[in-house]
Amino acid sequence: MLKKGLILIILIAFAAIFLSLISSFNGNTELSDLGSYYAKNAPSEVGAANLVTAVVVTYRGLDTLGEVVILFLAAAIIGLLLKLSKDEKDENSRMENVRATSEILQTATKILVPVIFLFGAYIFINGHLTPGGGFQGGAVIASGLVLLFMANPNMKINHRLISFIESISGLSFVFIGILGILLAGGFLDNKIFELGTFGKLLSAGAIPLIYIFIGLKVGSELSSIVGTLNETQKEK
């Protein structure tokens, strides 16, 4: 209890830092220089209607590459960390078929999962036009997979296939980035294709393509993480 009180006191003192930040925060009335530059020039320079996408994929493309790498790392490390020894695998397989899930869940899953996958794909393909993008779409796809796991707890995912999709989309991302150096202004420049008509599906240069790869990659990475976690922790 004494310790909790001490922690509370420290945190209250710590809050002073935040308080001074809040007190110097006055809200905004205008866009920052950076924001207004993007608002004015992104349509012509990048061609994406969704400015956030323009910033995420092109202007700050290196950040995005970084986050893709982080997910990739997370998936790889979780694979490394939770790699099962042979005995554990045997033990897990012996404990299979504990209890089947309800029929409602199973049937609903069959109907919903294709829709969810489709929705995910829709989100990342339209990432440059509407709210959403590769990460969001990928997350939606992975959520479909979670549903599948809930319906069939013993389902095995094909790690090799997932790893293949993950890597090939990552490699393609890097490759498009290099094409940017060769064909356009720099690494990850999207102008390797025509920018196209503003606001149309096939516009904004390489952004849709990049987002497709990101979507696939994020989808497969999150699936792989969920899959690995699922395999490791069987209910006993």
Binding site: F14, I17, L21, T58, R60, G61, G66, V69, S167, V174
Partner: protein, 1041 residues
């Protein structure tokens, strides 16, 4: 040239490709990874080379084809290239080192490793603060992944703590970043610097959060428990990468964002750094786990680097050099030590002694330890020197002191570890197995420390005159160390003689330096000559002996303060390795090193104060120091007195010298101690005797000399070991010399310098003979000897002459010394000290009598019935020395006259006046030649008479007697030599009670206990560590704002 962006594309491309071809054999994957790292190493090497030689300019790489701040830009300048190269090299060599582990863990581990190296590169290159955050996260997640390369419960729990802590640090960084964006409207670091947001309160808090997060990435004490657990639990090969690679990158980030920080934060940064440096090293003292120890040391070094950055306003254009020199030393040495730790595979620092069986590894171990401690010829020495000098020039004395204290504390545990590995028992430890891939990386880094040492030397102006020829010669001798001793001995003697001829012109006309050249290098020839007695290889002896002599020679030829310290340190290293060769010398060698290390730091501090006042480093800087003169002169004198083993700083000597073998004992006592005398002479010549502070210092110095003389002689009388007896006697003799010099008069200096020479001669004789006897009999204990006169007549005569000289009785030259001494004391009016010195002179008879009586006279021991005379190789130099004693006994004017002429320019009054062979002072006169003649004639007459009268005496055989029917319980107690002066001991013993030893023990216990207390903050609980971080930030916030 290849664009730096390909550092990213190559690494990521290969990483993803390895994912696609997941079925590749693991070995092939690992090789591909190494090739990728090799390629990016090539890119950064190419840039580093081009930028260094001016073939390229700092280049910006704009991603996405837009200019910053609208897009993220990378920068490749000279610093970026250099850091990226450092990271890639550790990645490449570390990858080679970890090859088997990576292969065993498979594809995922290989990918994570590659991405870690890439992430560190981007951290260095990026100029966008949010991008920096992203790749810091890449780095910390990859690190968290590689922690589990070592799969055990410790690494997993430490990985969790690490993730928790870095997650919170990253969160706070993010808050700082977003608010700095709010205030500046940009994420580009250059824009943020220009916006100067530190001026407003909110902006300053944002900057504070960014700064503190980056500082926390450098693991400051005490908010670093999470990091230390990682160092302890991971594979040493990976710890090398964290310590050398990640820490260097984090340091560079701090350097990069430093311009954002308002000036008034700088002192806080230095304070955080120095707290880390001292605190972390302090806790390291108590540590016995190798990797955790190295973790503390790593963090300590980072603390020093943080301090340097914080002090950058005071360092001017030297900042870059200082930071690089210290960083590169840390980088090479720490990676090397972690690698060695992975080879040795012993968790406890006490179990490293099996490393001795692998000489190459042992040499590397020593190299890395000395690099960390900032000894020449390693780069950190130059860095630390410049750091201290610049700080002193800016008047930052407190910082200087703190940095030196921290360095000293680091020395305590690094040396304990090292000396343990050199000396402790290793028969029970398993053999060390080395595979080639683990052997190559540390070897490369070991060689690089020497290369960078030379390179760093070229940047230090004062180091321009350093003569590298002796060092090359030493390196050559080290390379032919596999040859038998006599070959190396011959080559070494030839080298030293050649060097004497080479040096002689530079000291011509300077009597003082001629004398010391004679003692140092002439002594070198004599001792090396006696080294022929040794049969076998004597591994490691010659390089170290020569290093000591090279350091001594450098002292003589030094033209500035830097060279003095350089020579001093070189000599310290060499002598340490000689002294530690003795059988039981582990604790004594260690305490010798501690005193030497402390001494060289105090000396450096004093030199820096001299530099601050004088403006350059010429030897003239020692005359009339203006900045804190009392402190400066005292510190420098203390530094030199660690080698003369004056009272208070003497406790290392009896043990260290007492355990050394014959010729090393000679080197250490008769030659090495004189280096301190030379130093004291330089200081006193500069200081003069006029100023008030000089008078005070001289008064204290005089008493130190007198007390050393007394304590040394009294303690010598009560020793059982002949070698310890001589060691204590050296303390006493050096006390005379210091006392003589402290008088600051013509006579005092004549006496002091005359003693310096004669002590060299007669002590040389005694060390060689006694050492030879101890070697022959296998023990230095006098009660185990006796009656050796008939077995070793040549030794007996030599010792007889030497002790007559030492005792200072006519006719030999010792009397001349004493006569001068008493004259000086009386004419100066130093009556109190004079009484002490006089008394100690009388005490000297006690131990001299014991020495000759118990060894050569009395009954021969049964087991010595077959001993022979000591090695002729020892006797030849002894008789050369005796010859010299005879010459100057008969003709003291050979030395005294030029000495007088020389000293008259410093002390014009009170000189000796000569009349033929008769010398007189204001108080009396003395004629060495005639005394010698008269005493000689008397001696011959007496001897002849004894021989004639004893011709008819009956010879009594040794066993011509009857024992009573009693067997003594401890036979040695019946030997008259055992506890010989028990009565005197009762009367005088209080004088030599180990007060000083107790004092130093108390200090060291105090430090140990403090360390033990402080380290309890590391409770091991991840939550506590987070609390440390939060509290740390909170406290610093309230200090700044």
């Amino acid at each position: 040239m290849v664009s730096p962006i390909h550092i990213i594309t190559i690494s990521l491309g290969i990483a993803f490709a390895l994912g696609i071809f997941g079925n590749l054999p693991k070995k092939i994957s690992a090789i591909i990874m190494l090739i990728a790292i090799g390629a990016i190493t090539f890119i950064s090497a190419q840039w580093a080379y081009a930028l260094y030689f001016g073939n390229a300019e700092t280049t910006q790489i704009f991603t996405a084809g837009f200019k910053p701040p609208y897009s993220i830009n990378l920068q490749m300048g000279i610093y970026e290239a250099f850091f990226s190269l450092l990271i890639n090299i550790i990645g490449l060599l570390g990858g080679i080192y970890l090859f088997n582990t990576l292969v065993k863990q498979g594809k995922n581990a290989i990918i994570v490793f590659l991405i870690l190296i890439m992430g560190l590169n981007v951290i260095v290159l990026t100029q966008d603060i949010f991008n920096l955050f992203v790749f810091l996260e890449v780095q910390s997640i990859a690190t968290a992944g590689l922690i589990v390369l070592h799969k055990n419960k410790d690494s997993i729990s430490s990985g969790f703590k690490y993730m928790l802590a870095t997650g919170i640090i990253a969160g706070l960084l993010l808050i700082g970043i977003i608010f700095s964006y709010y205030f500046t409207g940009s994420l580009n670091i250059a824009d943020i610097i220009n916006a100067n947001i530190g001026l407003s309160k909110g902006g300053a808090v944002a900057v504070f959060l960014i700064l503190i997060a980056i500082v926390l990435e450098l693991k400051p004490f005490p908010a670093n428990g999470w990091a230390i657990d990682v160092y302890q639990s991971v594979k040493p090969g990976f710890a090398a990468i964290i310590s050398a690679g990640s820490a260097s990158a984090a340091f560079f980030v701090l350097y990069k964002i430093l311009p954002i920080v308002p000036e008034n934060f700088y002192n806080v940064i230095s304070a955080l750094g120095i707290i880390t440096f001292i605190g972390s090293n302090l806790i390291g003292i108590k540590q016995t786990n190798t990797n955790r120890l190295l973790g503390y040391s790593s963090i300590g070094q980072m603390g020093l680097l943080i301090t340097i950055l914080g002090l950058s306003p005071y360092l001017g254009d030297k900042l870059t050099f200082i930071a690089f020199a210290i960083l590169i030393s840390h980088y090479l040495a720490k990676a090397g030590l972690f690698w060695l730790s992975g080879i040795v595979k012993q968790q406890n620092i006490k179990n490293w002694s099996n490393l001795r069986k692998k000489p190459v590894l042992m040499v590397l171990f020593g190299t890395f330890i000395f690099t960390l401690l900032g000894f020449p010829p390693f780069p950190s020495f130059f860095g630390k020197w410049e750091l201290i000098m610049q700080l002193s020039a800016s008047g930052q004395f407190i910082w200087m002191a703190l940095i030196l204290v921290g360095s000293f504390i680091e020395g305590i545990y690094l040396f304990r570890w090292f000396s343990n590995s050199l000396k402790s028992e290793n028969s029970k430890l398993p053999e060390i197995k080395i595979s080639l891939n683990k052997f190559i990386p540390p070897v490369i880094f070991g060689v690089a420390t020497y290369g960078f040492g030379y390179f760093a030397g070229t940047f230090v102006e004062a180091a321009g005159a350093i003569n590298y020829i002796p060092l090359l010669f030493i390196a050559f001798i080290a390379l032919i160390d596999f040859l038998p001793a006599w070959t190396k001995n011959t080559i070494s003697i030839a080298g030293v003689i050649a060097y004497i001829f080479y040096l002689y012109p530079s000291v011509e006309g300077d009597l003082l330096r001629q004398i010391f050249l004679g003692i140092f290098l002439g002594g070198a020839v004599i001792t090396l000559f006696s080294g022929y007695y040794y049969k076998g290889k004597r591994l490691g002896f010659y390089p170290m002996a020569l290093a000591m002599f090279a350091g001594l020679a450098m002292l003589i030829t030094a033209t500035n303060l830097f060279e003095i310290l350089y020579g001093w340190e070189l000599m310290t290293i060499g002598s340490y390795f000689l002294l530690i060769r003795g059988k039981k010398s582990l604790p004594h060698g260690y305490s010798y090193m501690m005193f030497s290390l402390g001494g060289s730091y105090t000396m450096m501090f004093g030199f820096a104060l001299a530099f601050a006042g004088f403006g350059n480093l010429d030897l003239q800087a020692l005359s009339g120091i203006t900045v804190y003169p009392t402190l400066a002169y005292s510190l420098i004198l203390i530094g030199f007195m660690t080698k003369t083993a004056s009272f208070g700083l003497h406790i290392w000597l009896p043990g260290a010298h007492g355990e050394a073998v014959a010729d090393i004992h000679f080197m250490a006592s008769a030659i090495l101690l004189k280096a301190g005398v030379f130093g004291i002479i330089l200081v006193l010549l500069g200081m003069g005797a006029e100023a008030i502070y000089a008078k005070n210092i001289l008064f204290v110095l005089g008493w130190i000399g007198a007390i050393s003389a007394l304590i040394g002689n009294v303690a010598a009388s009560f020793q059982e070991s002949a070698k310890r007896l001589l060691a204590w006697s050296s303390i006493g003799q050096l006390g005379y010399i210091v006392f003589g010099l402290a008088m600051m008069s013509h006579l005092g200096w004549t006496a002091g310098l005359f003693y310096t020479i004669t002590h060299f001669l007669y002590k040389g004789v005694l060390f060689l003979i006694i050492g030879g006897i101890a070697l022959k009999l296998g023990t230095p204990l006098m009660y185990k000897m006796g009656g050796l006169i008939k077995k070793m007549p040549f030794s007996f005569i030599a010792v007889l002459i030497a002790i007559i000289t030492l005792a200072g009785v006519p006719p030999l030259v010792g009397f001349a010394g004493k006569w001068l001494f008493y004259n000086a004391i009386i004419s100066e009016g130093f009556y109190f000290q004079g009484v002490v010195v006089l008394f100690s002179g009388i005490v000297a008879f006690l131990y001299l009598f014991r020495l000759i009586h118990t060894i050569f006279l009395g009954q021969l021991k049964d087991e010595h019935r077959n001993v022979k005379e000591i090695s002729v190789w020892l006797l030849i130099p002894v008789y050369l020395l005796l010859f010299a004693i005879m010459i100057i006994s008969a003709k003291p004017e050979f030395i005294l006259k030029p000495l007088g002429n020389y000293l008259i320019s410093y002390f014009p009054t009170g000189a000796l006046t000569w009349n033929e062979t008769m010398v007189s002072t204001a108080l009396g006169h003395w004629d060495g030649y005639w005394i010698m003649m008269i005493v000689g004639v008397m001696f011959v007459i007496l001897l002849a008479w004894l021989i004639i009268t004893n011709a008819k005496a009956q010879k009594v055989k040794q066993f011509n007697m009857v024992y009573a029917a009693e067997r003594p319980f401890r036979p040695e107690t019946t030997h008259m030599a055992h506890n010989m002066f028990a009565g005197y001991n009762k009367a005088l013993g209080f004088l030599i009670a180990p007060y000083v030893t107790n004092f130093w023990n108390w200090i060291s216990n105090f430090v140990y206990d403090t360390a033990g207390f402080v380290r309890r903050i590391y409770s091991g609980n991840g939550q506590t560590y987070v609390l440390h971080i939060v509290a740390y930030i909170m406290v610093i916030y309230f200090i700044i704002f």
